[in-house]
Amino acid sequence: MISVQNLTKTFGSVRAVDDLSFDVRPGVVTGFLGPNGAGKTTTLRMLLGLVSPTSGQATIGGKEYAAIPQPARVVGAALEAASFHPGRTGLDHLRVFAPQVGVSDQRCRELLDMVGLADAAKRRVGGYSLGMRQRLALATTLLGDPPVLILDEPANGLDPGGIRWLRELLRFFAGQGRTVLVSSHVLSEVQQTVDDVVIIAQGRLVHASPLGDLAAQASRHVEVVSPTGEALKAVLDAQGWTYEVASRDGVHGFRVSDVAAAQVGAAAFAAGVELHALTQQEVELEDVFLQLTGQTQNVAHVGDATQEVAA
């Protein structure tokens, strides 16, 4: 439904979006993830015809946004929570855009009711909380009952109840066969909402898959401590496991990758090696996300970089 192909945008010498390609399918919620400044909003703005790409293209249903007749009936998009005139009431905000979508004042009121702003309809948006603005932005996107929803950081400013409400709403829309694309800079915020993930960093695609495939990348490791370090090291070498030495204060510790604690324990027992600690460490999905987007201080990587500089 949404297709981004070799999309590139440069601002001066900065490549905000760099040869980005991905597809978003209907019937599921897709999370568009990346740290702040990764190029998410620029990508969405190109998709919506607000920013012109330097090269490549982004289409919705095979057409560029500007080529869609009455686009607000096809695509409901909300970009920032700040796009409101503070002196306008919530109802009037919807009424301003209703003519182009082709809907009545009645529809505007129904939507305010649906997003829980019925009581605030006649109040100026300047007095709204961030969460209320998010709800109003969502109502704006739903004016034309569009089959495609594009929401930029919709969970920002929502309280936990609001986030849960949003999750159920988005899942409901996806269940109706709509295409739902939701951006976020924190995976955990949308982890329970999304079926697919598209992850970008520094304008480039780093991962695109169903959420389950991302979870499979979540590695695990075992931390093991022994008073006889050399003996344990020999066991680990014999098993062919990869590990890091994590010795501290005369205690011989190892960090063994991609194994279960039971395997390490069994191997040590068989070799007659005494263990003082044996801990299974699961890597959270969020850690995988942080690693993919280069937001972790990875010691090994820093070392590599130093070597490259030295070379």
């Binding site: 920032e80 796009s83 082709g102």
Partner: protein
């Protein structure tokens, strides 16, 4: 286009700014109407003849265009700059990505709102000035065709100032900058420029092409012209020059501000 126009009218009517400007303009025009009518009917200290009759009536009744045009000009400019200040340009262009339609609807809507400024501003100056002219001067001349035509054209000219304002706003989308430029130009630069141009023989003709001079030419009377600040263009050339300012600003704005990425 119809949908875009309705949207623009709703943008106007759902915010307070325009009618605050309208009320201030009405009060200011009524006040100036009274002051000008009094000064017109006073015997000059030097013993020369007072401005009287139709000229006095015209000067007072077209004050809206002569001195009040800053209000519709600001209103028009801010109808565009507010889109950038509050980033409503984003949902506006999402609702209809055709930027020509967006700008066109804004220009047309501004003329209609500008007519309200024209009617209210002109009525206020007439209400303030006419009783005094009738009481102390040679009459109010409210049924005189030589007065009524310029007064009606003054309403049109004030409406067109809002149109020019949208052009200025598209040229200078930064709201603070636009307000500063509008105030500086209308209250300071243009009057001085006009005075300076008129006082240099070789440049006297140029002053007629300044925006306010062109709008006064459309009306056929004006505050500055009545103060002897140079000759005006004819009515039709004046109207064309005046409109050209609005269109020129809007076209430049379309190819700069509205061609750029909306970020």
């Amino acid at each position: 286009m119809k949908a875009a126009l309705i949207s623009e009218f709703r943008k106007w009517t759902s915010t307070r700014l325009w009618w605050i400007l309208l009320i201030v303009m009405a009060a200011y025009m009524a006040f100036l109407g009274v002051v000008m009518a009094f000064s017109m009917t006073l015997e000059p200290a030097g013993g020369g003849p007072a401005v009287g009759g139709v000229d006095a009536a015209l000067t007072v009744y077209t004050l809206g265009n002569g001195l009040g045009y800053v209000f519709p000009l600001l209103a028009g400019a801010m109808s565009m700059t507010a889109e950038f200040r509050y980033q409503t340009i984003t949902p506006s262009l999402l609702a209809d990505p055709r930027r020509n339609v967006f700008l066109g609807a804004k220009l047309v809507a501004a003329v209609v709102i500008g007519l309200a400024f024209g009617v209210v501003g002109t009525l206020a100056s007439v209400a303030g000035g006419a009783p005094i002219l009738a009481w102390r001067g040679e009459g109010a001349f409210l049924s005189d065709g030589d007065v009524l035509v310029p007064v009606l054209l003054s309403v049109v000219a004030i409406a067109l100032w809002a149109f020019v304002g949208v052009g200025v706003g598209s040229l200078i989308p930064n709201q603070v900058a636009a307000i500063v430029v509008v105030l500086a130009f209308t209250q300071f630069v243009e009057p001085i420029l006009r005075l300076a141009l008129v006082s240099v023989d070789a440049l006297e003709g140029v002053a007629r092409f300044l925006p306010i001079a062109a709008s006064e030419a459309l009306v056929g009377a004006g505050t500055y012209a009545s103060l002897g600040m140079g000759e005006l263009l004819g009515r039709v050339p004046g109207a064309l020059v005046f409109l050209a300012y609005g269109l020129l600003f809007a076209v430049i704005g379309r190819w700069t501000t509205l061609r750029r990425d909306i970020t």
